[in-house]
């Protein structure tokens, strides 16, 4: 059966990955290709890369940066930032992007969604929507828009979008949990897959979101940056919840781990640790 997807969201500002808080504060994290490489090693399902300055600077996300980072990724890359034309999309698809993420252009030029869906297929067009309460949000003017998220999403679907990426402005970076009610409402109303983002501070929050039956994926930004093995541990915890279909196939997989209520990995017994000293693990060479 189709698994729930755990997606890492990498926000680029001035060619660096940054931590985003409330769409207004940004703290530096580091190099894009290193983030991509580590996320792959830790078993992430998919990666979204967005250049949040590109539209403001009226340019496309740096395709050389994407090409370089793509070398390290064997999971899909959805790339966005300043996409305005079919040529932009073509260039990104030839630079290692598997899907493109369109935000501002959906409002400035909705026909781009239709045209690009006809040429590239709807399965690679992701429309990203910033939500402030039930209304869409314009991150450039920092104001709510007239349309509700549902109205905008339905329009995007009619134009040929393949997925909706829903971003909660109020929950961005607060680490207190996702807006489950709004996500559930939207997930039940749409005929295409929904990815929700904003508010994850720990694995309980992800579990809660994954229990929304029709939610396809959770995108996580800040949470993965500061804890080593956060992806593997998260998957280990999710895999132990038997009602959540998740892929847990990384080499370091915490399948046999025991977690406490704080979701810290419990120490194995002394006997188990002693036996592990003499285990032989043959390196798998593909």
């Amino acid at each position: 059966m189709l698994k729930k997807r755990l997606i890492a969201s990498l926000v680029l500002k001035d060619a660096q990955v940054v931590q985003s808080i409330g769409f207004s504060r940004y703290l530096p994290i580091g190099s894009l290709k290193i983030c991509v490489e580590n996320l792959n090693r830790f078993g992430i399902d998919e990666i979204v890369i967005i250049d949040i300055d590109a539209t403001k600077k009226n340019q496309l996300i740096d395709t050389d940066l994407v090409k370089e980072a793509a070398k390290y990724s064997f999971v899909p890359l959805s790339v966005g930032g300043g996409i305005k034309t079919i040529k932009d999309i073509e260039l990104l698809m030839h630079s290692g992007a598997d899907k493109v993420v369109i935000n501002q252009a959906f409002w400035q030029n909705p026909q781009l969604i239709k045209k690009s869906s006809d040429i590239f297929g709807n399965q690679c067009i992701v429309v990203s929507m910033d939500a402030y309460e039930e209304k869409c949000y314009d991150y450039i003017t920092q104001n709510k828009r007239d349309k509700t998220v549902l109205e905008a999403a339905q329009k995007a679907i009619s134009l040929g979008a393949g997925e909706i990426l829903l971003n909660s402005v109020q929950r961005d970076g607060i680490k207190k949990g996702m807006d489950i009610e709004s996500i559930q409402y939207l997930a039940n109303s749409l005929s295409i897959p929904l990815i929700a983002q904003g508010g994850v501070g720990n694995t309980h929050h992800i579990k809660e979101a994954f229990r929304i039956k029709n939610l396809s994926a959770v995108a996580v930004g800040n949470f993965f940056h500061f804890i080593e093995h956060s992806v593997n541990i998260t998957k280990g915890v999710l895999a132990s919840a038997t009602d959540i279909p998740i892929r847990n196939e990384a080499e370091a997989n915490y399948k046999d781990a025991v977690f406490d209520e704080e979701l810290r990995v419990a120490k194995k017994s002394d006997e188990e640790l002693r036996d592990m000293l003499f285990e032989y693990h043959k390196a798998e060479i593909i």
């Binding site: 059966m1 189709l2 698994k3 729930k4 997807r5 792959n40 078993g43 399902d45 998919e46 090409k67 793509a70 070398k71 990724s73 064997f74 999971v75 899909p76 698809m93 030839h94 630079s95 290692g96 992007a97 598997d98 899907k99 006809d118 040429i119 590239f120 297929g121 709807n122 399965q123 690679c124 393949g162 997925e163 749409l190 005929s191 295409i192 897959p193 929904l194 039956k213 029709n214 396809s216 994926a217 892929r247 196939e249 798998e284 593909i286």
Partner: protein, 212 residues
């Protein structure tokens, strides 16, 4: 030795960079090309595809490479791996954006996936395959391994003997096929991490051992 062993067919609608990256990781120096000489000299082919069926077929026709591919694949039995849209192109026809003719190398048609209360289309994400027939392409891959899918249309085989694996998404969907030297996957092995890389390695081995 002149000419590259593996040619990734450049028909303008592929995520060719991703495939080239994956092959590069496996130590294979593949060539991205639609030129007759390269196709003639190659030992095996990858037919990628992320895009619309109609445009891909149009491009293949405009590039005038269908005949030479048929000569090398159907007559000289050189191995070919079709991926995603590349698998769909092998079918007789597709209804994506109107009715369009495919290459017709496998006895199948391309139909839309059905949306329903529980089923969202496109089918996006990791799904586990059920191996229904042995295939060298699936060597060392466990049944229930997850691969990445991203498609709104799927291949319906009239000749079920070519089906090598399926997935379940509301109904049974063909995940991979083999007809002699013609291999294809609906999923993206170049984007399916370890399992995908293993499958690509299997294809490289198939090309290596082929005496076509």
């Amino acid at each position: 030795m002149s000419g590259k062993k593996i040619v990734i067919i450049d028909h303008g609608v592929g995520n060719t960079h991703s495939i080239a990256n994956a092959l590069d990781f496996l130590g294979c120096d593949a060539l991205l090309s639609s030129c007759h000489a390269d196709i003639e000299n190659a030992k095996g082919y990858i037919l990628p595809g992320v895009g619309a069926f109609k445009i891909a077929m149009q491009n293949l026709q405009e590039q005038d490479i269908i005949d030479i591919l048929e000569k090398n694949v159907l007559s000289r039995n050189k191995p070919i791996l079709g991926i995603c849209l590349g698998m769909q192109l092998l079918a007789k026809s597709s209804v994506e954006g109107g009715l369009h003719k495919g290459l017709g190398w496998i006895d199948a048609t391309v139909q839309p996936l059905q949306t329903s209360a529980n089923i969202r289309v496109p089918h996006v994400g990791w799904n586990n395959i059920k191996i229904v027939q042995n295939s060298k392409l699936l060597k060392n891959i466990q049944t229930d391994s997850n691969f990445y899918f991203d498609h709104s249309f799927h291949v319906v085989c009239d000749d079920k003997t070519v089906e090598t694996s399926t997935i379940f998404y509301g109904e049974n969907i063909t995940a991979s096929v083999q007809k002699a030297n013609i291999f294809a996957t609906q999923f993206h092995p170049e984007k399916s991490q370890t399992a995908g890389l293993k499958l690509l390695r299997n294809f490289l081995d198939i090309v290596e051992k082929s005496d076509a």
